[in-house]
């Protein structure tokens, strides 16, 4: 990149760098368009007629433009029910789970108690256990307790907190000096109050990001709902979308399938656009620090 000529004339080097930047940008832009192209195609296809999608000639622009499929999807009771059920799982899990996770993270990071390291290590080890190992026993457990007729199998495990969030928040708190705890103790501050009025505000940002990621995780989850939920009326959104795919592919109603998929993607995409900076930051932390 830097040959002798460049070093001799910094003006020439600058120009060359600029040209290089332009080339790199164009290449990256081509790649980026290729990455989102299938999604763009999906959006276009959702506005097409069935005949246009199935025609031999490839086309991207809907002709004629039909938005009726969106209304059709939105008027399907299964779809609305799917959204409702997903939200019914999200709300309690995120509210209670955020509380239990952050409380545990505070305890692991700042309090001294017996068996701390052993418990923490046990938690960490579970991150390596494949879901396949625990899904059959969990299924049996929920069946025996008679919970597969509702959403509880999807809600209950989340209420107890999330190991990866505990881990992340604990890391986040290591930068907070221990003096905070000591000062609070001297002031006669109780431990719960210490969590609530000192440490919770300190980890607010990190917790917020983790909750958003958790929201997306629940929103996009498919495996657990298919195994644990047996009643149609409690199917979550992803299960409904999958069912649409199976049902409407028979008569090739691809515009409808695409419209339903597009609708299911909107909430997570919106969240990502708004909180991008934080999401990427937290991802980078877990990746670079290991």
């Amino acid at each position: 990149m830097a040959n002798k000529k460049d070093i001799q004339s910094s003006g020439g080097r600058y120009k060359k760098e600029r040209r290089m930047d332009a080339v790199v940008f164009v290449l990256l832009a081509i790649g980026a368009v290729a990455m989102v192209f299938p999604l763009i195609y999906m959006i276009c296809a959702s506005f097409m007629t069935r005949n246009q999608i199935l025609s031999a000639d490839f086309s991207l622009i809907p002709n004629p433009v039909k938005h009726g499929k969106y209304l059709e999807v939105l008027s399907k009771p299964e779809f609305i029910r799917g959204v409702r059920n997903t939200l019914l799982v999200e709300v309690p899990v995120l509210v209670v789970g955020a509380f239990t996770s952050s409380l545990a993270a505070f305890s692991f990071s700042k309090l001294r108690f017996k068996g701390k390291d052993a418990i923490f290590l046990g938690f960490l080890a579970t991150m390596m256990i494949p879901f396949a190992v625990v899904m059959i026993p969990q299924y049996v457990l929920f069946t025996r307790l008679g919970l597969t007729n509702n959403l509880l199998p999807l809600i209950l495990p989340g209420l107890f907190g999330n190991v990866s969030i505990i881990f992340f928040l604990r890391q986040n708190l290591t930068s907070v000096p221990y003096e905070f705890v000591e000062a609070a103790k001297i002031d006669g501050c109780g431990y719960f109050k210490m969590y609530y009025s000192i440490f919770l505000p300190l980890m607010k940002g990190a917790l917020m990001t983790q909750v958003i990621l958790w929201f997306m995780g629940i929103w996009n989850d498919y495996l657990a709902p298919t195994i644990f939920v047996s009643k149609d009326k409690w199917y979550t959104l992803q299960v409904v979308i999958r069912q649409f795919n199976a049902t409407y592919a028979v008569n090739s109603d691809y515009p409808l399938i695409m419209a339903a998929s597009v609708l299911s993607l909107i909430p997570t995409l919106l969240l990502f656009f708004f909180f991008q900076r934080y999401i990427i930051e937290s991802l980078a932390i877990s990746g670079v620090k290991g």
Partner: protein
């Protein structure tokens, strides 16, 4: 350290802290016992029986027979091989990821928009994008074959219907889905490399590929390691994209993964004991591969100090 001694030494304040500390981790600990520890023990016992979900587990104790059967089960070896083949996507994602991240590690305006575009597949629902890609790979009308036909005039391969191409399809899909993560992580890895490293090497006459090989690549090795570990753990658990794109497991089961086969055994054939044994073998494989990676990392993973 004797425990009893310690107990005596604990002051009232320390005991209070001990109590609260434990209380605060109790909810996740209960969750851990109920949804992890108990299921693991249960699954292990189940794996030693011919349990079908309804019959009495302990009456159908068969010892290690499920495990022995598994090792002679051709279908199991096939799905294990398929699962491993899909992992070709891991290095593909790494190479593309580091190249793109290098491009993005320049001060160019508008690069953040591109970064977002690369990341969109990562946050998209796996079911929705699998439905979409099933369509992209469609033999008659799919995006790929339409483009191939428009460009070359010949009909493209039967992506999801062919034993070979179905694997190529899945590798393409998985690389596409995960590329954004690799880019973001490599980019933040690149940004943490001090500039003077390069300056010093340039003075020594190094350039281009040499700089990459001796400075950049070793210094982003923690990211490579992270991607490798998470890629392998996730790769052994691939399920949803297969079930959506190739619901029958592909021609001659050529697309099925371990979890796909396991799911079928457990919930379609009610061979819960056998499926539990398979799940255990899977967990052991993941554990061993991860452990090997952790031991081996000293050889190639560098840190900036």
């Amino acid at each position: 350290m004797s425990k009893r001694n310690e107990k005596y030494k604990m002051s009232t304040a320390a005991r209070k802290e001990n109590r609260y500390g434990l209380a605060f981790v109790t909810p996740p600990f209960i969750g851990f016992c109920l949804f992890m520890a108990f299921p693991i023990v249960f699954a292990f016992i189940a794996s030693l029986t011919k349990w079908n979900g309804m019959n009495n587990m302990l009456d159908n104790f068969v010892g290690l027979r499920n495990y022995i059967k598994l090792f002679t089960d051709e279908k199991f070896w096939k799905v294990l091989l398929n699962t491993i083949i899909y992992m070709i996507g891991i290095p593909c994602g790494m190479i593309l990821g580091v190249v793109i991240a290098l491009g993005m590690n320049r001060k160019i305006r508008g690069i953040k928009v591109l970064r977002t575009m690369y990341y969109i597949p990562v946050i998209s629902s796996l079911v929705a994008v699998s439905i979409l890609w099933a369509w992209v790979f469609n033999y008659d009308y799919g995006l790929f074959n339409s483009i191939i036909k428009a460009v070359s005039g010949v009909h493209g391969p039967n992506w999801l219907g062919d034993e070979f191409w179905v694997k190529v399809s899945m590798i393409i899909f998985m690389t596409w889905k995960g590329l954004g993560t690799a880019i973001i992580l490599y980019l933040s890895g690149l940004q943490s490399i001090p500039r003077d490293y390069y300056e010093a090497a340039k003075i020594d006459g190094a350039s281009g590929w040499t700089l990459f090989k001796h400075i950049t690549w070793p210094l982003v090795s923690p990211v490579t390691f992270y991607l490798l570990i998470t890629g392998i753990i996730g790769g052994f658990q691939v399920f949803v994209e297969i079930v959506v794109m190739v619901p029958n497991g592909g021609l001659n089961y050529s697309a099925a993964t371990v979890v796909f086969y396991l799911y079928e055994k457990a919930f379609t054939n009610n061979q819960m004991g056998y499926a539990s044994a398979m799940a255990f073998v899977l967990a052991i494989i993941i554990f061993i591969v991860t452990a090997i990676n952790f031991v081996g990392q000293n050889k190639w993973v560098k840190t900036i100090d």
